[in-house]
Symmetry: C3
Subunit: 540 residues, 3 copies
Amino acid sequence: MGNEYGCHNRFDYSDDAMRAFQEWCRERYGTIDAVNDAWGANFWSQRMTDFSQIIPPRFIGDGNFMNPGKLLDFKRFSSDALKAFYEAERDALAEITPDMPLTTNFMVSASNSVMNYDDWGDVVDFVSNDHYFTPGEAHLDEMAYAASLTDGIARKNPWWLMENSTSAVNWRPINYRKEPGQMIRDAMVHVAMGADAVGFFQWRQSRAGAEKFHSSMVPLAGEDSQVFRDVCTLGRDLDALADAGLLGSRVERAKVAVVFDYESQWATEHTATPTQQVRHWTEPLDWFRALLDVGVTADVVPVRGEWDAYDVVVLPSVYLLSEADSQRLRDYVQGGGKVIVTYATGISDERDHIWLGGFPGSIRDVMGVRVEEFAPLGDDFPGTKNEVSLSNGTTAHDWIDVITSVADGADVIATYDDDPWSGLDGVPAIVANRFGEGRSVYVGCRLGRDGLAASLPEVLDALGVADSDSGSGDAKVLRVVREGADGTRFAFLFNRTRGKVTVPVDGEPLLTSMASVVGDGDTAEITPNGFVVTRSVCAD
Amino acid sequence: MGNEYGCHNRFDYSDDAMRAFQEWCRERYGTIDAVNDAWGANFWSQRMTDFSQIIPPRFIGDGNFMNPGKLLDFKRFSSDALKAFYEAERDALAEITPDMPLTTNFMVSASNSVMNYDDWGDVVDFVSNDHYFTPGEAHLDEMAYAASLTDGIARKNPWWLMENSTSAVNWRPINYRKEPGQMIRDAMVHVAMGADAVGFFQWRQSRAGAEKFHSSMVPLAGEDSQVFRDVCTLGRDLDALADAGLLGSRVERAKVAVVFDYESQWATEHTATPTQQVRHWTEPLDWFRALLDVGVTADVVPVRGEWDAYDVVVLPSVYLLSEADSQRLRDYVQGGGKVIVTYATGISDERDHIWLGGFPGSIRDVMGVRVEEFAPLGDDFPGTKNEVSLSNGTTAHDWIDVITSVADGADVIATYDDDPWSGLDGVPAIVANRFGEGRSVYVGCRLGRDGLAASLPEVLDALGVADSDSGSGDAKVLRVVREGADGTRFAFLFNRTRGKVTVPVDGEPLLTSMASVVGDGDTAEITPNGFVVTRSVCAD
Amino acid sequence: MGNEYGCHNRFDYSDDAMRAFQEWCRERYGTIDAVNDAWGANFWSQRMTDFSQIIPPRFIGDGNFMNPGKLLDFKRFSSDALKAFYEAERDALAEITPDMPLTTNFMVSASNSVMNYDDWGDVVDFVSNDHYFTPGEAHLDEMAYAASLTDGIARKNPWWLMENSTSAVNWRPINYRKEPGQMIRDAMVHVAMGADAVGFFQWRQSRAGAEKFHSSMVPLAGEDSQVFRDVCTLGRDLDALADAGLLGSRVERAKVAVVFDYESQWATEHTATPTQQVRHWTEPLDWFRALLDVGVTADVVPVRGEWDAYDVVVLPSVYLLSEADSQRLRDYVQGGGKVIVTYATGISDERDHIWLGGFPGSIRDVMGVRVEEFAPLGDDFPGTKNEVSLSNGTTAHDWIDVITSVADGADVIATYDDDPWSGLDGVPAIVANRFGEGRSVYVGCRLGRDGLAASLPEVLDALGVADSDSGSGDAKVLRVVREGADGTRFAFLFNRTRGKVTVPVDGEPLLTSMASVVGDGDTAEITPNGFVVTRSVCAD
């Protein structure tokens, strides 16, 4: 079975691939005119009269001027072509070992979308993922985000962490090691988020070759090392969890879903957009983290997933919204759902044809706003500035929607404070609306994690939800629960800070690392990089 | 007719182009030895014995080491080859529609020189230009500069603004929108500078394809939008100006000419120069803006144009000066002309052969200075600094000429204050001289817009001219006048600041935008991005 | 004879080169299995079964994943192939002019290792070097470092400075000129370090062609110029030194050797390393300068050179240490030698196979430390920081060794002060050890020039050596001595500061530049960029 499909061979510009892409287009669109229509080929005289005229989006000197519809479809084709390759390998193996479950290692993280992994989730017997940590302060949160998205792709079925690192990788310009405790803690975050297995690359660190500086279970320094001792400890910890009945349990559904969409990410990678500083994936991680900052652990859910089963759903720069998805959102809110939608959501349909008449085109009625144009912010020319203040004390960066009208009955929660001549002063920034039985909030700019966290209490209040419906209720702790079929609940608590935190312990302590249960067993003190796992049985 | 010739297809390195380049060289130089001589081919054994040995300047691993003479000629050839292509298209059309004037859209701006547009000016029936605004604080000034250069290329015949944008473009990394008022104001700046027509790309914004995020007259949001309403207002404004007799009028000649030279720009793009931080075009815009900052609106004039018809002419880093141009300058000053010449002017002749004996080689007598070597400044190595103070309170950056002698009778207006061991302390920085009936000032360093503005009063005084001979006399306002054949004068006043300015109104107010005429009609209050147009009839 | 071999043609990826590389591998390794073993070809299924399967390390999309063993060998091959080319040219010339010594211009500097010049030293009749100054504050020190390394390559036989510049070069983005005095001073630094001849590129500055802005002996401004007058002065100065008997004298051996290794530099250029911020050559120059900062002039010695003839030897990030070199170091210290070894030394053997069991693998016993893993520092992700304090008041950057144990009897000279959760707080940073009759100090992090200078007094004390055994004993002055066969000593003193310094004069003043001998002739006052040369006869 191949390894990390698409990581180093995502695109194929050969003539073979060209013919396969032509065939893919024929299957998707049926006629060459449908392709012309999808790609807006009338513009710039790009009309084709036969499928044989379709070439891959080869370099033409300036990425700005590639056809965005074709480029989006070429990414879809490339994911599909490699998926077909996986399926061929899988089917060959399945004949030989019909009883073995088959999978391949995805690469789900907050900053990777080479394949549409949500689509691949359908063709593996169980989902597995490779995850390598993000250095610095985002380490824990990004890992939880990526693991939650993996869990979303797995539809809350248990999955495997196929690869992660015991410490440093070797492929970044600077390869930070893991701090004491982080190796075990990191593995446990994936477990908390639904992993039933934890694997590492590599077992014994190679002495030579391209990956000799990649950490391993048995490091270059040998078995007499903290890394190896921690690996042994982790093995015992995982045994203990298995003994306690964790395997097969599922991550408790959160109250809030943050939606991620591979195709929106692909479409926003085109360079001829309002600003290259905003691509779909810049926003969902900020929302996930800002929610943690107000004590809420959200689920990250693929756009095809069951986000409409949640109390609150966030659509963060979900650039592509098809007619069907727009209607699904409308139905959800109509029926009582609560939705937060941000700038750069619902700009185009699935062919990247822009919804006309003002943004967010297909769901203006739901949101109660109309945006006439975008005001990207930056500081790449003298006299430009990448910040505009909001009346709620936060600051917008990178993107502002120029909201020119607001529906009757909608509430403007915040406006911009700017230079009186800029055209932004007093423009609505955050608008709450009611639609059908539900409610919506539109956030018309990029506020970043801090700005979102500061705005969230008021936003959640406008939606009529308290700000601690799920998660720890405490910004200092990441809390996730796995539920067994028998009602057993495994609660995982991770310290998100650089200091010690004291947390209530809800059940029988099963595991601690860099933590100690204190007092009468009702609270635990967790150091940075530490965690506690407890077990309880639901009384219901 | 082709669109924006050279924008995406400036250079052709194919074998066909190679043969055409060989032919071009044969026509320019006659013999291969003349080519060898022009390109300094003795150096590095580059001598050729036949035209067939000439290859295009293809990539050789390091641009530093391309032959600069060949590279300059290849740029000339490329402009000529595309011009010949335009002429072929034009001639074919002219047979069919002999009564239609024919043109093509140039791309004149302060930072584009893919073609020698001044040379192309001869082959169009009327000049037309595409101009896209520079974001940030240079927006208005750069536009006025580019429009003035277009007017210079048109030899003050009316021209067309073929393309500009109603708001954001889509091809920058960050695509800033226009502020309220800017769309109409921008169009009017081009009109003030000689445009008789204003066009936009694009009419109706495309829903799909590579330019769907480029603004338009009818935006994605539809006709119910500020952009569309402003487009309609602009149409009415242009009608009003036409009714008032503006069409066909010409921009009043300024007192000061700032010279721009496409070939000097091309030559200074070679990387093996004293510093890559200085190329010809970095300086003319600074001078144009600094002159505005002391209330003087200059004309930007191509080096082949009539700069010797002005009271004062500025040669800002005009790197190439042929023998003939050197003599023309000498004659101009000899006969009473007043000239400001900066560092990096007159370094080489038209073949990029350096004038020997000290800089500025061919016009040392006129300027009364002798420069022994250059002292580029930078901060790209620890312990380097990109600033040296001048005795007049300004600061030099990027380039200092080491002036080692000054003619008898010349006045040193400013010197450098530096580390006593650097060899720059006390060296003359700005030197005024008298030559024949005229006067000259040499500015031996890069002062930037602010440093030039601060130095200009003294410089103009040394030349014996007041500092407000043309323009508004007020740094806060850009003032341009178009003169009709019947003596009608159309004065355009634009606010250059971020606050309101009050200006005297000289004639009958024809148009205002973001402005209001107050009091008894003698003054107007203009907000940022606003302007006033008045009409008067010359009593003379 | 070719010019600057390898400067622009280091690598050849053609099929011809492929065959030559295959042959080179056959000669080095004998069997393809030995190649497989050397390159760790089992990893990633890279095993070959025939020499014809060896291809050059052509671009594969990501340099991280090239085989590091192959890449290292390809650099060795490329140096050898060009050396063989030189030898062929040399042999042809030697037949014609058997009495002429033959050489070629190396490019030895602190930041160039395209060829293994130490290896080339064996095939020239005398060493010659091209050196172009580093702009900014490192100018003098880097030049002295490079010249000392050249002297080390020449094994202290006199050598030639074949090329340097009178002032600016033309191939940097910003081409700084030399300050007054620097041209003569620079030439004299090379002379002090062993050059018996000083050459310049170029004689008369070319008017045209790619190097027309490169300074020369006769500049574009002509003979009436400071540059030309200084060239004449230098000629007279060199004559005076020749008359005084300098030619053929040798640079006095210093007490301290700083080791440089071309192959360690090549190996650390691979991108999949702990951090790309640390490559071998970043460290030796820092040590050379830090030693100057405590008044010690060190010799820079190639790893194959006689570093074990010195009192103290510094191995600064000498990444590759073969079994033989490890043993050589062990024997040296065992026998009473004093060694300073830094982080990133002795990581791998000559095949880039990592020494197992903890770092520095093959010399842990000598150093008395064991490093379990590396902790690279950086600031390229939010929340990362590229600095950790040491208990001795200095600061580590870029790389920290996690020292987990220290030998009995070893002294921890400094530890880290860090976040209590980082795993670095309290870890030993600098450790002194005794081994056999000798002593060692291990510096487990990158301290930079300033940190090293601040730590050196204590380090030298731990080694049992005073801090001014050689050199000037004065951080403000670079002092070098050349010794004639007859006991004549030529002392060169150069001002390292930006102010005047007063120095004792030890002998008869032969030359001064930007300096004056004052008082009774026992002291001299040297301005920045100045120097004094004296002659004395050794009484011994």
